[in-house]
Symmetry: C2
Subunit: 190 residues, 2 copies
DNA sequence: GACACGAATGGAACAATGTTCCAGAATTAT
DNA sequence: ATAATTCTGGAACATTGTTCCATTCGTGTC
């Protein structure tokens, strides 16, 4: 979304926008903020783990629905949008009974993973869009490239090529969350 | 790094560069590729877990040393640079004895986490640089902002503010990797 | 040795985009 | 009604990726 496009949609000029906003990062951060606030509120599950899953999935879906979110969340660090995600995750990790000295590691791993997947997905989507491919065409292209890799150097990647065409991003994402959750819980006993 | 700066450094014009490269993404992808290839080669540890740790730390250090890497790795998805990371991680996960149907989840979680942390760190660094802050000043600014948050809405984030000033990015990153590794290994039995 | 032809150069120009400027319109206060 | 402040919107500026093209360089040929 460019400033001129925004100005046209608002039937005004760029200058009018700059009277209300300092710069583009202001605009984007604000949009992130309201969107994430809406996404994060009323995320409750039966258990802390379930709540974390719901939160993570909410973020995943928000980033899928708004491709700019993934890219936008990468830049304003420590800012309000990130805190809006950090806080409920942290509260749930506390509720899990994780000792204080490992809470930060647990929460930071969750946040990094969520933002990492989101950013990667957003980039994939944007790449596909600029090339005029839909999702399955894009996956096909990647799978084909992977299957053509050198068999001796890239055995593992080649073995993934088939599975790639039919995989479910959302499910894989949730599996990753569960993986981290299990890792977190295994620290509780030690 | 802008094309004009690059042209000046090379004592030539932009046109000369375009004779050899298709566009900027070509240039960046190429740079990523050689850098990651160098980073990933000879990553060996005593055990698969240790090797994964070494690989991840290598990527972390490379992204710290070259801030553009984090941003660059977000865009070319499924491309060679990503595959260069995916492959050795996958091989080590295989060596861990993870059953085939959960290998993808394990590897994809690792990759997403590594890229997520890298991207976030790169963004933090860039933000700090544009504001002319060094690392400790930047952490101070974030810690101060966090400690001034509303106590009722953001208890967890506030409780992190103190710890933030003295934390070690590299160590936290490795802790996250260990978390995921433990989660991966706990799937082996089930 | 002169010439021809493709490879490579480098600087000017173009297009898109974030940003600033400013003359004026709209609104509000006195 | 007048003055001052707020707000608008379009023109202009700076930066950056990219393209164009006249020119130069190197190499093989007669």
């Amino acid at each position: 979304m460019t400033f001129r496009a925004l100005a046209e949609r608002l039937a005004t000029g760029p200058g009018a926008i700059y009277w209300h906003m300092a710069d583009k990062s202001d605009l984007v951060t604000g949009a992130c903020d309201t969107l994430i606030a809406r996404t994060v509120q009323d995320c409750v599950g039966a258990t802390p783990e379930a709540t974390i899953r719901v939160l993570a999935l909410g973020m995943f879906d928000a980033m899928s629905a708004h491709p700019w979110l993934g890219a936008a969340l990468a830049s304003p660090a420590g800012q309000l949008p990130i805190v809006r995600i950090l806080e409920p995750l942290g509260q749930q990790v506390c509720a899990l009974g994780i000792p204080e000295d490992t809470r930060w590691a647990a929460v930071s791993a969750l946040v990094s993973y969520i933002l990492g997947v989101g950013g990667q997905n957003a980039a994939n989507g944007q790449l596909a869009r600029t090339r005029g491919l839909d999702r399955s065409e894009f996956l096909d292209a990647v799978a084909t490239m992977w299957s053509q890799l050198n068999a001796r150097e890239y055995p593992f990647t080649r073995s993934l090529a088939v599975r790639l065409r039919t995989h479910d991003d959302r499910l894989d994402f949730l599996t990753g969350i569960d993986l981290i959750l299990r890792g977190i819980e295994s620290t509780r006993g030690s």
